[in-house]
């Protein structure tokens, strides 16, 4: 059996500097409002975060975090109201609890610490949005690309030869079932 280097990172040294893509889930009442406030205050921060609005951080299913990574996010930021400040009384505590477990799981699955972050940012903390986004962007930039879609493709490349081999013996008129 030969060792194939297929677990190696897919992305070779990129020609242009790596710009992380961070997906953020912001709760409507605190963090989303804080991001609006940062805008109204014309604070300037890194353009790497894309915000998905939810009513409460409690709506954020750990599946969303995993899905964001799987679809190509280099980092995922989750923003909610400060403990005790949730618009829905206690949604953020529920978020905190489940995300503490998710953090363990991500660690076990080899996703570096800095790629997932949970922050409490109140509606008045536009400056904190700026600080957190800048800090996390720098941190993820230092970690480099995660590129799970690329990794998935790379992993499945080990099946290509055989797929072609089996397909080659298939009759032409038949539609092959193999993926």
């Amino acid at each position: 059996m030969s060792e194939q280097p297929s677990m190696a990172p897919v992305v070779a040294a990129p020609a242009v500097a790596f710009e992380p893509r961070i997906v953020a889930f912001f709760c409507n009442w605190c963090t989303y409002t804080a991001a609006d406030l940062a805008g109204v205050s014309r604070l300037k921060y890194a353009p790497n975060v894309r915000v998905i609005r939810v009513m409460c951080s409690g709506r954020v299913d750990p599946q969303f975090v995993l899905e964001a990574f799987a679809k190509g996010a280099d980092g995922v930021l989750l923003g909610g109201c400060h403990p005790g400040d949730c618009h829905y009384a206690e949604g953020n505590y529920k978020t905190l609890r489940r995300m503490r477990m998710l953090i363990r799981m991500l660690k076990e699955l080899g996703i570096e610490d800095g790629r997932f972050r949970l922050e409490w940012i109140s509606g008045a903390e536009g400056d904190k949005v700026k600080a957190v986004v800048n800090e996390m962007t720098a941190q993820v930039r230092a970690l480099g690309p995660l590129d799970l879609p690329g990794k998935f493709k790379e992993w499945d490349r080990e099946m290509e030869d055989l797929e072609q081999h089996v397909n080659a013996s298939a009759p032409q008129q038949e539609e092959a079932h193999v993926r």
């Binding site: 109204v40 353009p47 998905i52 009513m55 899905e67 529920k94 008045a124």
Partner: protein, 666 residues
């Protein structure tokens, strides 16, 4: 400009619109590039950019396209949905499309205003637009929920803001309950002698309104009471109010004050809170002659009967209406209201925090509020401006911006201090003939007649020294300074350091949020800004609304302001409440959750997660059920349902998953 095309294999027909917002968006984001790009996305049949999407022609453009191009979904890239989501939902409806087939993209607050790199901001705008285009496919037709609005109103706080709001609502025929923590309404305004810049007597303009509150048939006045708990939602709040015991029956007392004369303490002995501790009162007391309601109360901490049970109770004997009840207990009242106006006011900055100004160390240092009482004709000295040792000051220094505009304490301008310092300067000079020095950083007099008032004070010979006082000290460096308080200050107009000896120092303390503003806002489920004042929904366009519908804020609980602004805001809050009441119902976002019965296994995982007890287990069917009226749409149960059997309108799993896919697709 626009791209149009025919579509397409089962994907709904989507219209995309990107707003220039004048140059707010277009100067950073290449809107044409975004427009062209989005036109290539599956499902998009119209893609346009326009100068102001929110304008009438902008909205009309959408409505027309919906009709002409048979649009089935709508995406608008513009500002924050908190601002214009409703506008474009209406535009969709105008075109005959269900309002909720719409998704808004925020590229102003979240992109053009916060980024400088045009290419990166444009990339971000494309990503966000793509996310919305992917998402909107899954949107469903929804209707807003209508709930009735209880016409009764609760006003919390009986200062001038609460008084004005309560009277406005009551005059409009609504039933109002006014709850005040102190024994009397009137708030800070009741402490003042005169009001700037007109110098009309505060009592003269305030007390008629106070008695109007008391006598108004539509107002229930509960003083010495505090809100304990608030439950429910817009239009339907259930409020518990604790009425603290006065140990005097409010319905029987007529305020004759015979009991006060009869008290076993012959002389007033205890510091009088109303007079900022400058005067004394007895254990049975009334704050001031015009207190409303005019009902005495007993301070249990100083009353001998309350402390020991061994007093001859001459006060009770003196009461011919038998109003005394030493066993009175706190009473918990519950009321139903549809809307709430919060007017809980402010507290003044604790002058002790500026150690170098010597408050609490030098008896000659006063706070502005203490001076308000000293210059007040009905105050503890009947308007005589005297030092704590009884001497009359020959020179008085007023230090502005104490606890305001200070990096170390409060950064904000308290807005009223310049003006009230001028007022006090005038009154002190008038009452005592003393030389008065104002030490200011900048004079801020933006208001009708305010600058003119400043001019008048200059003409009166009040001294103005531009400079922040470094310290107040009793260290005399010259014989003239002996026995005086010396203010050391850099006179920034003259350009040198001066030492001004005075007898009395007045600290123009700024305004802060109430000490318990944090607790109060939790009770009412509203927000506070970083300075601790209640947070308005929008600083310009919704200044008296909060993030909780049906709860409005008025006066200095929202931020420092003077009486004219406070009254205007109280009127605005009352009007906002009236809008809801007169509409008779409110429309609620349809973003509630529901359980799909045939999918639910009845595991109850969701039930305890709901803070509003909206989820219950149907014992017969063994399935969870969500009460839509109680559900506020946070989605916590949706995220937590282990078999994915709970759905949330507007935030469905497939909507969010496709938004994730869209934002990351390249």
């Amino acid at each position: 400009m626009a791209e149009q095309k025919e579509h397409q294999n089962g994907i709904p027909r989507i219209g995309f619109y990107i707003c220039h917002c004048g140059s707010n968006i277009a100067s950073i984001i290449d809107v044409e590039d975004v427009r062209k790009y989005v036109a290539t996305l599956p499902g998009v049949v119209v893609s346009r950019d326009y100068k102001y999407m929110c304008s009438d022609p902008g909205q009309e453009l959408i409505a027309q396209d919906i009709r002409e191009h048979k649009l089935e979904r709508l995406v608008v890239s513009a500002c924050s949905p908190n601002l214009h989501e409703e506008t474009f939902r209406n535009a969709a409806a105008k075109g005959g499309l269900n309002s909720f087939y719409f998704q808004m993209v925020n590229i102003r607050e979240h992109a053009s205003w916060v980024h400088e790199d045009k290419a990166a901001a444009t990339r971000k705008a494309k990503d966000l637009a793509r996310a919305a285009v992917y998402r909107v496919r899954f949107h469903q037709a929804l209707e807003k929920r209508k709930v009735p609005v209880d016409p009764n109103v609760l006003v919390v706080g009986g200062g001038i803001a609460g008084i004005h709001a309560a009277l406005t609502l009551a005059n409009a025929g609504k039933k109002v309950t006014l709850v005040e923590r102190e024994a009397t309404i009137g708030g800070h305004m009741a402490l003042f002698d005169k009001t700037f810049p007109t110098m009309d007597c505060a009592a003269c303009i305030l007390t008629p309104k106070m008695s109007a509150v008391k006598s108004h048939p539509n107002i229930t006045l509960w003083t010495y009471s505090e809100v304990e708990k608030v439950e429910g939602y817009v239009g339907n709040y259930k409020v518990s109010v604790k009425r603290k015991p006065r140990y005097v029956n409010e319905d029987l007392c007529v305020g004759c004050m015979a009991c006060i004369d009869a008290c076993v303490f012959k002389e007033p002995k205890f510091p009088d809170k109303f007079n900022q501790g400058l005067g004394k009162r007895k254990p049975v007391y009334i704050d001031f002659p015009q207190a409303t309601p005019k009902v005495v109360l007993i301070d249990p901490a100083t009353c001998i009967q309350m402390k020991t049970g061994k007093c001859k109770k001459s006060c009770a004997d003196a009461c011919d209406r038998k109003a005394f009840d030493f066993n009175q207990q706190p009473e918990l009242k519950e009321i139903q209201v549809g809307t709430i106006v919060l007017a809980t006011g402010f507290k003044t900055y604790d002058a002790k925090r500026d150690a170098l100004y010597g408050y609490g160390r030098y008896p000659g240092v006063f706070t502005a509020l203490e001076i308000e009482r000293l210059v007040n004709a009905s105050g503890p000295t009947l308007g005589d401006v005297v030092l704590r040792d009884g001497r009359h000051p020959k020179a008085v220094g007023i230090i502005h911006c104490v606890g305001s505009r200070d990096e170390k304490t409060n950064k904000w301008c308290s807005r009223v201090c310049c003006m009230y310092s001028l007022k006090l300067a005038h009154l002190i000079k008038e009452h005592s003939g003393a030389e008065v020095y104002n030490f200011y950083i900048d004079m801020r007099t933006p208001g009708k007649g305010y600058e003119e008032f400043y001019d008048k004070l200059l003409a009166e010979g009040v001294h103005f020294i531009r400079g922040r006082v470094a310290e107040v000290t009793d260290w005399a460096m010259t014989p003239e300074e002996q026995g005086k308080l010396v203010l050391r200050v850099e006179d920034t107009l003259a350009g040198f350091v001066r030492r001004i000896p005075v007898d009395m120092v007045v600290l123009a303390t700024g305004m802060e949020a109430q000490a318990d503003a944090g607790e109060v806002r939790h009770k009412f489920n509203i927000g506070c800004g970083s300075e601790g004042f209640f947070q308005e929904r929008h600083p310009k366009l919704a200044p008296v609304n909060t993030f909780t519908d049906g709860i409005f804020i008025a006066g200095a609980c929202q931020g420092p302001r003077d009486i004219p602004d406070t009254v205007a805001q109280a009127g605005a809050a009352a009007a906002e409440a009236l809008v809801l009441i007169d509409a008779g119902h409110v429309e609620l976002e349809p973003n509630t959750a529901h359980v799909v019965e045939e999918e639910c296994c009845g595991c109850k995982s969701c039930v305890p997660l709901c803070p509003y007890s909206a989820i219950t287990l149907d014992e017969a069917k063994k399935k969870a059920v969500i009460n839509e009226v109680l559900c506020k749409g946070c989605g916590t149960c949706v995220a937590a349902c282990p078999s994915g059997s709970i759905r949330q309108n507007l935030f469905e799993d497939d909507e969010i998953f496709s938004e994730i896919e869209g934002v990351l697709a390249q």
